[in-house]
């Protein structure tokens, strides 16, 4: 529906519209122009309302009291700006602990993915050796394989070597699952750097490691940041891995913790639930506010992951 209205309104602008031709004068022309653009504007307005209104509603609802949730209609505005739900969610709901766990699992994984992935991308794309395309292909296979295929052996191993009560299983697993995409993306970015740059560096006497560290890495710094952003969203938003490997409550990440929010307070406490969802949503919103162009570019470049 979107498609036909949109194309009709714009692509037919050259064809005179019989219903609008007879009008004369400045005002008439302005009205016809307004009317001609009306369908397009309606489509855009509806689209933006559908995409953003739920979030506005979410934010407004997070200020409501339990009584308002149970007795007032869901579209009603909150009676006051009440932050008690947020403190309830953060302190009593342990959301503070969950956010800390998420950070403790996400940041080390990100660092490892970047260090290992950029180096491997360099070795696979810039360096010349037999078998490098086969190794790159081997990494690519890892993007396709569903995580379910590695969960059970990993769980067994983590359990047996006594890592089960820590955040290490998350860090290790996130690193391994993130690596294929990072290697693949970094190899693509290194392909765009002219080979002569590295050849010149080695001619000038730089070792390969030096050429990587002092020339290669700085040249793809922007790409590294993009890869890090993409991986951040995959890891931060992950539920499957976190749900599998967080065996006790004090290790829950924000996603696992939020999932258990409905049960934690006995009868569902809607206020803290909405506040918790808000904290989760508006955390990423702030990141998106500042970096949206880069995030859009990065995520679409990483779309092989599906």
């Amino acid at each position: 529906m979107t498609l036909t209205t949109a194309t009709n309104t714009t692509l037919t602008t050259g064809i005179p519209n019989p219903s609008t031709t007879p009008s004369s004068g400045q005002l008439g022309r302005r009205i016809t122009r307004f009317l001609r653009k009306l369908p397009l504007r309606t489509v855009i307005a509806v689209l933006l309302i559908i995409e953003t209104y739920p979030l506005v509603w979410l934010l407004l609802s997070s200020f409501k009291t339990q009584n308002e949730f149970l007795t007032k209609p869901s579209w009603a505005l909150p009676s006051q700006l009440n932050f008690a739900n947020y403190t309830d969610a953060w302190v009593d709901g342990n959301l503070g602990t969950y956010v800390r766990n998420s950070l403790l699992a996400t940041l080390p994984s990100l660092a490892l993915i970047i260090i290992l992935g950029v180096a491997a991308g360099f070795a696979l794309e810039v360096l010349v050796w037999r078998g490098r395309s086969q190794i790159l292909l081997l990494f690519l296979v890892g993007i396709m394989v569903p995580a379910q295929m590695i969960l059970l052996p990993l769980f067994t191993v983590y359990f047996q070597i006594g890592l089960a009560g820590t955040l290490w299983p998350l860090i290790i697993t996130y690193t391994a699952i993130g690596l294929p995409l990072a290697v693949f993306m970094m190899a693509t970015y290194f392909r765009a750097v002219p080979r002569e740059v590295f050849e010149a560096a080695t001619l000038d006497g730089a070792s390969v490691l030096r050429a990587f560290w002092s020339i290669g890495f700085p040249m793809v710094r922007n790409a590294v940041f993009t890869v890090a952003l993409v991986q951040f969203f995959f890891i931060w938003n992950d539920l499957l891995i976190a749900l599998t490997f967080t065996t006790n409550q004090s290790l829950r990440t924000i996603q696992v913790g939020l999932l258990s929010f409905t049960g934690e307070f006995g009868q569902t406490a809607y206020g803290p639930l909405f506040a918790g969802i808000c904290i989760n949503v508006f955390g990423t919103l702030i990141l998106y506010l500042f970096l949206n162009q880069r995030i859009m570019k990065g995520l679409t470049a990483g779309s092989v992951k599906g």
Partner: protein
């Protein structure tokens, strides 16, 4: 010079750690998981060899068929929805909004980065019937339609899943396909317009054929992602009502961790993997054949 860029020690230092982690944590577990399909038991109580029992069970388990059927239905419907709406949006960006499309693109893309769990919990509330009608039921009531218990029956629960996942991801596919449309040279469009192709005819005769390659890769990405759906369904319906919205991923998870049957869980994971690789290869091959014909 080539010798230096082929320095073996440097290759080992740069590639070694990544390859080691990848091998130990991805490749070995994949093979191990294949081996697990011939065992029963779990990490806590040990494993016993089970021969082909898991495969026998697989072919007689009606829930596996249900889960495969659900997974495929979900993947096809979401992929079609994502691509059609995403393509529609990208056409809107390129031909209707033109340079003004930046802000719309950014806003419509936004839900993509939101945590799936948060979105699912939000949709639970949007489509709620108790204790108060959610926004959707209020909207229906406004037009005189009675409230619907969205999560009470398989059909409506599936509908909510579809609406949610398309809401979440159409902005992503819009931007992905937008990049493909922008690459179409302006001269091609201009000469088509001079030849009198406008509106729908311009899109179907010129734009659509030219964006087929990017559409194809979008379909592959989408199928690959949707076959692995887990987070959004677990958080939204947890497979219910009953087991009516349980995809393979969730069934595998329940078998392994609720019932402690790792061997059977691995067998289901294997089915999922074969499904993912098979579908991707199939789409790829059939697209290749089309290209050679046309």
């Amino acid at each position: 010079m080539q010798n230096i860029l082929g320095d073996r020690k440097a290759i080992v230092i740069l590639l070694g750690p990544a390859l080691l982690v990848y091998t130990l944590v991805m490749l070995v577990p994949v093979l191990w998981s294949l081996g697990l399909t011939f065992f029963e038991g779990n990490a806590l109580f040990g494993f016993q060899p089970a021969g082909f029992d898991n495969f026998v069970q697989l072919f007689s388990d009606p829930r596996v068929l249900d889960a495969i059927w659900f997974t495929i239905r979900y993947a096809v419907i979401i992929t079609v929805g994502q691509i059609v709406l995403g393509y529609g949006l990208s056409l809107l960006y390129v031909f209707a909004l033109r340079r003004a499309s930046g802000i719309v693109r950014t806003l419509v893309f936004f839900p993509v980065v939101l945590p799936t769990v948060a979105v699912a919990l939000m949709f639970q509330q949007l489509f709620a019937v108790a204790p108060q009608n959610g926004i959707v039921n209020e909207f229906l009531n406004f037009f005189g339609v009675a409230s619907v218990d969205w999560f009470g029956s398989a059909g409506t629960a599936f509908l909510v899943i579809v609406i949610m996942d398309i809401w979440r991801s159409m902005g992503f596919y819009a931007v992905l396909l937008y990049a493909g449309l922008v690459d179409i040279p302006e001269e091609v469009l201009e000469s088509a317009r001079l030849d009198g192709a406008r509106g729908w005819r311009l899109v179907s005769n010129i734009v659509l054929p030219l964006s087929l390659p990017v559409l194809l890769s979008a379909v592959i990405f989408s199928i690959n992602g949707t076959l692995k759906v887990f987070d959004s369904i677990l958080a939204l319906t947890n497979g219910g009502p009953g087991t009516s919205t349980t995809p393979l991923t969730l069934y595998m998870f329940q078998t392994s961790f609720s019932y402690g049957e790792y061997g059977y869980g691995s067998t289901i994971a294997l089915v999922l993997t074969i499904l993912c690789l098979g579908v991707t290869l199939f789409i790829f091959r059939s697209a290749r054949r089309d290209n050679t014909l046309g």
